[in-house]
Amino acid sequence: MAGTKSALVLCMDVGFSMSNSAPGEEPPFELAKKVIQKFVQRQVFAENKDELALVLFGTDSTKNPLDRDGQYQNITVHRHLMIPDFELLEEIENQVHPESQQADWMDALVVCMDLLQTETKGKKFDRLNVALLTDLSTQANQDHLDVIIENLKQAGITLQFFLPFPAEDDEEGGGDSDRRGPGHPGTGKGLSREQKESLDLVKHVMLSLDEEDGLDQVYTFRDAIEQLCMFKRIERRPMAWPCQLTIGSCLSIRIVGYKAVTEERLKKMWVTVDAQSNQKEDVKRETVYCLDDDNETEVKKDDTIQGFRYGSDIVPFSKVDQDQMKYKHDGKCFAVLGFTKQNLVRRHQFMGSQVVKMFAPKDDEHAGVALSALIRALDELQMVAIVRYAYDRRSNPQVGAAFPCVKQDYECLMYVQLPFMEDLRQFTFPSLENNKKLSPSDTQLSAVDSLIDSMMLVQKDDDDADQKDIFKVHHIPNPAFQRHFQCLHHRAVNPGTPLPPMEPWLKAALERPDVISERCQAPLEEIKRKFPLIEVEKKKKLKTSAQIFGKDAEEPDAKKAKGDEEEDYNLADIAEGSVTSVGSVDPARDFRTLIKLKSLPFGEVCQQLTHRIEQLLSNKNTHYYMKSITCIQAFREQSVKLGNADLYNSYLQSLKRSIPNRRLEVFWDLLVQDAITLISKDEVEGSTVSKNEANQFLVVEEKKEEAAVPSAEDTGDVDDLLDMM
């Protein structure tokens, strides 16, 4: 139980008979040693305030306070009552060996009792316990049996026995027969006379301490090892939160809240240490502030102030001002805002990370009755209270729901936080059922049906109303903690060796139960057949990224300014994976991409581009003219790059010829302004145009204006232009 403290004496038999074993079996000594090792490990990692002592008997030497006149011989108090640590674990590992004497286990018990009584004086323990690990091979002295039992009772000391064999034969095993599986070695038959007598004595002692369940505290070594392999679950003392539940200002009920469910975390964090010295003092972390300039000028923390972002604005807002202006409230509260139907509070809208249970204070039965009235009223009406909850003045208030919980032995309200408007994200998703392409057929549905049948984790017994749940998550210890402690323990005991693999039991606890795995084989095969699942290839992924990033030019200007053309194209490649033709939106960019991709012949891409240019020019609008010009620029740029000037030159020449006819003078002026001319020999070897001609191409225009008119006739048709390519 959390919050309590116990004192425990481990009393282990190390006498010579403990080393005896049937061939192929581990001797009882080794098993007993494992039990105490596992137990102490758990205690060390649980870090509670429980104290431990270790008494060995059957030792060659004698060292105990009762050692007098040849009594209580061969019993050694190895460690006095204190909080267990790794030193103890190392001692157990290295100093506890099988020895060659035998001692009376009853004497050892008396030594333990004495130890508990003297060493717990002045301290408060909630539980005193002695765990005896022995094979019971020595004859026990029964002279003072009654006195011992009486003393145990008076001192409130409980006893546990760990034996190599079960205390009861299976036929009388009764209630807890399920706890011990088959295959335990050394059941009743192989016992010696001494063992049988001692076992009777053990039973007698245990039953006189607890008539009903006394024998439940007698374990076999194997059972114990199995149960102890789990590290203790993290326990925290429940802390009471006294408050008043209020309904309006006239009605209040005293309540006490306790955290009942919350995601537990490890109590300790990793500390950073220097790799050489392993000292945390050698490592210092420091945070410095610097301006966002080229020199990263450092500024002192004192020279910084606090600010917040308000959209695009940054607002300086000092801590003092912030505290003064922030939302303030009256502190601790659990106030009902109203009541609502339980089904309006949806399970998936629970917020926060905890469930708090509210009870009435222990000493106040009036509050108990009042709270009970509320709990039962809510339970009968299937309603919940919506409340304002504030832990204290410093913490933020919440809105939440208090659910009624009526159990056999107690009643309470369970508080869960609910979302604020700001927390919610209203996403809409395409309908699944109304989509004919996706909706499953009847045979597919029945395959899923039989899968569910085969994989039900809750089994209904026909004769029993009870349902048996074969996979209770809340009974599984957090595997992360188990693994964490396993590794820590390994590293502590075997420094310098690699971390061990995961414990098999832990692995198994996280898997589908075997029964289910077997049963669902066939239905799963059926599912596989009925539902084709095809992993979409990587190529498709490229397309999605294009969709995500968008297709239009996002940062070309910035990029170009840096002359970082190559990278621009790489970017374009990624973003434009799906470009298959020169589109109307950004033909220039599409054109570049297609050339780069080389997926289409150069001529064809140029044809697509000029087609777009002609479309744009037919609109007679400055915007379209500008767009056309960027296209022509791209055309020129790529032609030069590829060393193919013919297509461009002939297009530009025919375009020039068609200007007067199509009344595109304004456009031509723009072209002249930008000095977009023919590609000359100097630029591309194969060009038939000299540099001079190229320069003249634009200049002569004005003079030839009139002359151009007559010749326009044969070049006016756009389709002709395109056919040339």
Partner: protein, 610 residues
């Protein structure tokens, strides 16, 4: 109490860790989201409804404002623009479009913009709009083109582009087919560049007919059902707000995983966070002189040598049972690794096995990713239908990302629900409920209390019935966050005082009292004896104090020195209480900065061990 407090102080840290898990994946997609409001400013928009109901224009401005403010709170990096069309005046980057007024170009919304939108609200706003923009001819094509330019002028990488048209005119060009055609072309150009166009059509006399014109303008819905296009126009602010909000945020998967049913049966699913605790954003540090943000750099260095430590030069350690246990950094990570990320089906359980109190963190939402594994949607849909029909949930083991230990989750089926306007209010998919491990459940010791009698219960039922209301999750604003932003707003805009916030989670005490009337007294008479006052703290204790006359002072807690030393030696100081430890600190003149128990213990230990 100390422990509770400690929890609360730690909560932020804890949640930071969680945050990584919850929303860390949100911004995996590079680039900003953008949203353009394209609002009709024709005369028709300014016609007020009957009974003084706000005009369509007014309603739209309210919605725009609420989107601005919510963007500021939840995603300030998103870009928003506000453009009017059908105006008399024109204002756009190159002033090449007539009748288009770019009120705000694409940028992060800030305080000033909120104020400017505010100026357009109400009666005054209508007047201001008439003065600055006026109403003129309409060319939706030009307006769309202008918006396209807004997008292309942005130097930033945009990841999600959305354009919302607010209008009450179903035939904006009054049958001018050339203009209609131009608008269609421009719309398709926009759509080709990945802009999603939505229509927020508003009420007009005679009804709004989407079919003739706007059907070709707006983007096709993601699926082929009719759901995407709302055929009913909005006439209520609330409706409009809901519709806008549903579209305004881009849904993004936190993670894409496989839901593995068995060997080789992998359904691709996306995990979405539908409810994430909104927090006050972290403060940023500014340089005092210039108010410019400073960057912080954290470095680790050696205390003795002063040299910077490389990651390879540090290790991680924990101390248990007086022993320091040291591990390499990658070992610490590897301990946490169990399986590769994914969801693995364990089996099914009836819904009643899902306990209300098994709650450890907010749920997330699962939806198939047909784009990753073809056929996922079909199998997912079949599972959803069958689980829902049979009222079972699927129990899965879930590793949400690399090097995360497994958690078990319940996949709870959720069928799609739509309202009368065919707007989806519950999406189809599985809600993922995280289940607690044994460690997460605490053992409590419930007090034994008598139960209430049926008469008492019935009286409480009357009270409960009086205070019934219909809970809606979006009804409560977070007063802390609202106040914070009002404060910032006031500072940013040099307002005299922040706007008042209404604390919606404050009980309306007067109303409650009024509704209850005599019921409260009647109930109290039934359950409390005369003179019992639940308000007084710990009734029983106070009584003894009064009986004893003068309240006794607590005896001073002192422990003899040798005992203390013994505690230090045995490492059992922890057994002493905090007041005792504090007293001991005083006794030895140990100065402590903290009041936490461990700090006191540490201080004493160093002192007495020396």
């Amino acid at each position: 109490m100390a422990e509770w407090n400690a929890y609360y102080q730690n909560e932020d840290e804890d949640e930071e860790q969680e945050e990584g898990e919850q929303s860390g994946g949100d911004y995996k997609v590079t680039g900003r989201d953008s949203l353009v409001f394209l609002v009709d400013a024709s005369k028709e928009m300014f016609i007020k409804g009957e009974d003084g109901e706000p005009s369509n224009f007014d309603m739209t401005m309210q919605v725009v404002r609420s989107v601005y403010t919510s963007k500021i709170i939840s995603s300030h990096r998103d870009l928003v623009a506000l453009v009017f069309y059908g105006t008399e005046q024109s204002k756009n980057p190159r002033n090449s479009f007539k009748y288009v007024y770019v009120y705000h170009d694409l940028d992060e919304p800030g305080a000033k913009r909120v104020q400017e939108v505010d100026a357009l609200r109400g009666e005054k706003g209508a007047r201001l709009a008439a003065e600055t923009m006026g109403s003129g001819e309409t060319s939706l094509g030009d307006a769309l083109w202008c918006c396209a330019n807004l997008y292309s002028d942005i130097k930033l990488r945009l990841s999600h582009k959305r354009l919302m048209i607010f209008t009450c005119r179903d035939e904006p060009h009054r049958g001018d087919s050339a203009k209609d055609r131009q608008a269609r072309t421009k719309a398709s150009d926009l759509k080709e560049t990945g802009v999603i166009i939505d229509l927020m059509h508003l009420m007009k006399p005679g009804g709004f007919d989407v079919a003739p014109f706007f059907r070709d303008i707006v983007s096709q819905p993601e699926d082929e059902s009719e759901l995407g296009l709302h055929l009913e126009p909005c006439d209520k602010l609330e409706d409009l707000q809901k519709r806008v909000r549903a579209k305004e945020q881009k849904k993004r998967a936190m993670a894409r995983l496989n839901l593995c049913l068995g060997e080789g049966i992998n359904v691709a699913v996306g995990i979405y966070a539908t409810a994430v605790t909104a927090r006050k954003p972290a403060a940023i540090r500014l340089y005092r002189e210039t108010n410019e943000p400073v960057r912080s750099k954290t470095r680790t260095f050696h205390m003795q040598t002063g040299s910077l430590l490389l990651p390879s030069e540090i290790k991680k350690a924990q101390t248990y049972g007086k022993k320091q246990i040291v591990m390499e950094r990658d070992e610490v990570d590897s301990i946490k690794k169990f399986q590769d990320p994914g969801l693995y089906l364990i089996g099914f359980k009836p819904m009643e096995k899902l306990k209300t109190h098994h709650h450890i963190r907010p749920a997330v939402f699962l939806y198939p990713e047909e784009g990753e594994v073809k056929g996922s949607a079909c199998l997912f849909s079949a599972l959803l239908m069958k689980c829902s029909e049979r009222n079972v949930f699927a129990l899965c083991r879930c590793v949400s990302r690399r090097n995360y230990p497994p958690r078990f989750v319940a996949l709870v089926p959720q069928r799609e629900e739509v309202d009368e306007g065919k707007v989806q209010f519950t999406p189809p998919g599985f809600n993922v409920i995280y289940l607690p491990y044994a460690d997460d459940l605490r053992t409590l010791d419930p007090p034994q209390c008598p139960s209430a009698s049926q008469i008492q219960v019935d009286k409480m039922k009357e009270i409960v019935s009086k205070l019934r209301f219909k809970y809606r999750s979006e009804a409560f604003e977070n007063p802390v966050i609202q106040q914070h932003y009002r404060n910032l707003e006031a500072l940013a805009l040099d307002m005299m005082a922040p706007e008042d916030t209404e604390d919606l989670i404050m009980p309306k005490v007067d109303q409650i009292n009024h509704r209850l009337g005599p019921l409260a007294e009647e109930f109290k008479d039934l359950v409390y004896p005369a003179g019992y006052n639940p308000e007084s703290k710990s009734v029983a204790k106070r009584k003894t104090a009064i009986v004893g006359g003068v309240a006794e002072k607590k005896p001073k807690a002192e422990v003899p020195e040798d005992e203390l030393r013994a505690h230090v030696q045995n490492g059992t100081l922890g057994k002493l209480t905090v007041p005792v430890l504090k007293e001991a600190c005083k006794q030895f003149g140990v100065r402590t900065t903290g009041t936490k128990k461990q700090e006191l213990i540490d201080a004493l230990t160093t002192r007495l061990a020396a």
